[in-house]
Point group: C2
Chain length 282, copies 2
């Protein structure tokens, strides 16, 4: 089965190419967009690929314009793929009403509740459809894939990797929502996407999943100590304790004075690309 | 005389601090905004300061979020100051009607024509008021100032430096409007800000100014070969020829495939910061 993609725009960047693409997603039953950075090495041979999942309200653009990741992707020869954070313009009533639910706020789950289950299948999209699409259209090593993300996307990256260690050989996160079952953002999203049975929520909570995941590779998490969402929404200490309980290797770093913004993300981007390159590049 | 500034927001970034500020400009007779990056070295001692002038439609935010300059400013110990590209909300009729004239399009001149001359005094603002304000409120070495910019801001940087070599000890530009008297953008702006007497335009045209400037320090210009504005609006070859005629040291580099965007700017940001650091840092 072949799927087509539409190249919306393209830009030279650090001797490689940034492309903005759209395609009809079978999984989400809607158009989806993503940005892809092809490093210069990809002109010669297949390269590892690193997915970045963005946070609430973001599109495929935020990471691509603000993170400063292309410099290091070009240095290490990594392809970067940054998908949009949800389906959009699905026609679901109220999809744009909340900034922390619906459009721009998929939480990377496969929704089971009406009407969201008609389109919001972002977990399967990230884990299955998007990697297959990338492998079909871009020169990537499909056995060398990593994933990382920020905030809601840090949650998504941890969940996707912990549940699919055979697909994602490396994972890291910046200020992730690390225990979504226990914070207001996660509870709101899970209730509406997954229903009220909290047992189903555990499939999308990194601090629950890690207990049985046997990921066996080091996880890197960076967190700003001045992040206004830290105490109520992010809860990295819960994930840290869960990792300790099962001997999951974790490096959790707190950085004094840094907040939740891309000024924080860009500061530590080099470290994250190095973390993935160490696992994915020869 | 002391002038106050208002700190709108502040972010930790690469061990330094990004701040967004506003103040009442006496020169422009309006509020003006700027972004400032204080590198970590500025906590210990005064540092050199590098001004970045942005292009058409930009504010103080574009460079600050997209250029990736803070990494290198932190490495070399340079303060970065990125002013907005014009006064705004002045009440001048039609100030927001055009994307290439009025708000976001000052062209960094001191307007002489009504009604623009009431507020659009950006040349004096950049050369005099802003450096004095920065020196009053931030730990900078006032004898170590450089300036660079992009597109309209590249034009502005070249003009400010060529006319004030004692103030700006280093200058560079990315895709500058290098001969504004001879391109539609410049002709439109100069006619409306300065009137129809082209003799007054020469004070704001780098390719004219360089003929008598005796800048005597190397100028760096980077230009994408796939920039859609290159042939009609930017005209770097005219500036190059003018430099040759007077033995002004110039490095003009064309980069295949690069366009006019921040993907181009960010790619060559490191080289520009190094160019200025070589002149400004001990």
């Amino acid at each position: 089965m072949s799927a087509s993609i539409n190249l919306i725009s393209e830009y030279r960047c650090f001797k490689g190419t940034v492309g903005f693409c759209s395609h009809q997603s079978a999984t989400c039953n809607s158009e989806m967009k993503f940005a892809v950075y092809q490093p210069p090495q990809a002109k010669l041979q297949p390269v590892p690929v690193l997915y970045f999942l963005s946070g609430l309200t973001c599109t495929e653009e935020n990471f691509t314009t603000k993170a400063g990741a292309q410099r290091f992707a070009a240095e290490y020869g990594l392809m970067l793929v940054a998908p949009d954070t949800s389906p959009r313009n699905t026609g679901i009533a109220g999809e744009n009403d909340d900034w922390d639910f619906g459009s721009g706020a998929s939480f990377y789950v496969d929704a089971t509740e009406e009407p969201w289950n008609q389109h919001y299948q972002m977990y399967s999209y990230i884990v299955q459809e998007l990697p297959a699409l990338i492998a079909e259209h871009f020169p990537v090593k499909s056995d060398k894939q990593g994933i990382f993300g920020h905030s809601m996307g840090g949650h998504g990256a941890l969940v996707c990797a912990l549940r699919n260690s055979e697909i994602f050989k490396s994972v890291s996160a910046l200020a992730p929502i690390a225990a979504p079952m226990r914070c207001p953002w996660g509870q709101k999203a899970f209730t509406n996407y997954l229903g009220t049975n909290e047992n189903t929520w555990r499939n999308y909570d990194a601090s629950e999943l890690v207990k049985a995941a046997k990921y066996n590779r080091p996880i890197l998490i960076d967190q700003g100590s001045a992040d206004k969402f830290l105490a109520e929404q992010l809860l990295p200490e819960i994930f840290e304790q869960a990792c300790k309980d099962v001997n999951q290797p974790l490096t959790l770093r707190f950085h004094e004075g840094y907040d939740h913004s891309y000024y924080f993300i860009s500061t530590f981007m080099e470290d994250h690309i190095r973390h993935h390159a160490a696992a994915l590049c020869d």
